[in-house]
Symmetry: C2
Subunit: 339 residues, 2 copies
């Protein structure tokens, strides 16, 4: 049914030359009669010939395809990372195959298996935060397939990682709140082993310690960062005595929910409770009050991950190095913490 694309054979037949001659002419390799070459190139252009990637791939064992394993896509942070990756990939003639894990390990294992069966040239993955089993990553490494990890920092996986300065930026936002005379700072976060939230929690603790503010475990709420758990978390926080005077959400969605619930309960923001988030979503400056947030270099994470991957594939850097690239975040102060 599908009309067949032109092949070298077609061109060879029409011009009464051999397939190898056509191949050579088109890739300008080896000696060749300029006349013959010109004719071949012309016909090829006319027929819109382009080598079948399946055939070349079969030959040099390359698919020109990179597998991406990412938790979600309906999320500005991750979709921006993806676009950063795509921008580099498409410029270099690579295609991306994207798998979504929902931050769930079972999906992740399946995704990686599928990608390896698809014979991708490399895998760039964000391991799910609950990760406790690393065999599927060792599988990638054992097969000498280039692997780049992004956003999460599993020490158990010895390879390149592209991450952000979670601890530092968390210290920064916490100190910002402290400078605004907040003393009971609550933190709604994801404390799963590999979650960025866990590192941010470390930063938070360091900031408190530095300023001699006692850590109150009551103010730390572990959640999986969806809307309903965030609602619940906030309601619980607002029952604590004494009340928290600030809430940090592990992302802007959580912070947004916290603000809404607090306002509904009659608290003024930021006067009664200051609120801050992470990731600086486009909507954050439009909330009421506008939301203070730690901006993440999402696009850059994507670009950088893909650049490293390409270097690995091209053999410019070894594929078995355990190295961490840390990109900088930037605190964006808005009305939700101005008091």
């Amino acid at each position: 049914m599908k009309k067949e694309p032109v092949s070298l054979k077609d061109i060879a037949k029409q011009l009464n030359v051999s397939i190898s001659t056509v191949s050579r002419a088109l890739r300008n390799k080896g000696e060749i009669n300029p006349e013959t070459r010109k004719g071949i190139i012309e016909l090829a252009k006319k027929l819109k010939f382009r080598p079948n990637p399946l055939a070349t791939g079969l030959l040099n064992k390359k698919t020109s395809t990179i597998g991406i394993v990412i938790p979600e896509i309906e999320n500005y942070f991750y979709s921006t990372i993806l676009r950063g990756m795509d921008s580099v990939a498409s410029l270099s003639g690579y295609r991306l195959i994207v798998s979504y894990t929902n931050d769930n390990q079972t999906n992740e294992i399946l995704a990686i298996q599928e990608l390896m069966l698809s014979r991708v040239d490399g895998i760039i993955a964000c391991p799910s935060s609950e990760l406790y089993d690393f065999t599927h990553y060792y599988d990638i490494i054992d097969n000498n397939i280039p692997l780049v990890i992004f956003e999460r920092e599993p020490e158990e996986i010895p390879t390149y990682k592209v991450v952000t300065d979670n601890i530092k930026s968390s210290i920064e936002v916490t100190e910002h709140l402290i400078s605004k005379r907040c003393r009971r700072i609550a933190f709604i976060t994801n404390l799963e082993p590999l979650a960025a939230g866990r590192l941010r929690y470390e930063g938070y603790k360091m900031a408190l310690k530095k300023h001699n503010i006692p850590l109150d475990h009551e103010l730390i709420i572990h959640g999986n960062m969806n809307i309903s758990t965030s609602v619940e978390a906030t309601i619980n926080l607002l029952k604590k005595k004494p009340l928290p005077d600030a809430i940090i959400g592990n992302n802007d969605m959580v912070a947004m929910v916290a603000m809404k619930i607090a306002k509904e309960k009659g608290f003024r923001i930021p006067q009664d409770i200051a609120v801050a988030g992470f990731a600086d979503e486009p909507f954050s400056s439009f909330l009421e009050p506008s939301l203070t947030s730690v901006g993440q270099p999402a696009y850059l994470i994507g670009m950088k991950s893909l650049e490293i991957m390409l270097q690995m594939i091209n053999g410019d850097i070894p594929i078995n190095e355990d190295k961490k690239i840390v990109l900088e975040s930037a605190l964006v102060i808005r009305d939700s913490t101005k008091r």
Copy 2:
């Protein structure tokens, strides 16, 4: 460098049988000695053999890959569509290659060329709204490559289209505002030839006409729907005399911007000006006031497009039919229009 995956040849060698025997055993085709078969299957499982998709693809001229052409991805609406597509594709053993056009025709043409060169089995595209040249689509059709269009409805491209009931839902939101005694309803929208905004504008006009409200062209602002143009559009609207008493934004981002600007200028929402949007983004219920919006069946658009594509590929439906699948939207009424 990369460790070679096991091939039929490897298995054949180890078991001292021919490649064809192994192939037959594994796919349970043709007569074969149950003993031999068992041995082969066992070894294959142990070695984690899986056929090289490049080789099979070369043989049956299939890549098991579907190309997606989509305007953006950092946008809940489009990323949800994409996930809908992915959910169906991954269940059917298809991979998706996604290209982003930024709603720009030049990018779109390049994307489609690239996809065709990659030999995708089918293309699902959202043509850019400014589209005036359709040759690249005719190119797809001429090559007998299955094509599905989504979200936009170009009459010039005779193929399956998966769209939403833009006119109807626009009538609905406009009538909703009219029922709230709004008479000067402004519309910030994208009027490019293929934009959904154009159809929504039609619906808007029909609703006004039905209720004998004169159309005031001053209240229609054409924009490309980014934040800065929306800011400008709103500022202009708020200078009109008499003032608009409602603003419809062509998406929730626009409506969000309009609300913010109007509030900053001292207008009360919805009392002075009611506001509504399209697409019902997750943040919309968290705005102040919560935003009335037309919910779009994004996930369904994605699923449906891919289902149709698979049917085309499988030959269950002809690939040259000009048919439109219309999915229903649902108006979500919130505080921004409750007056």
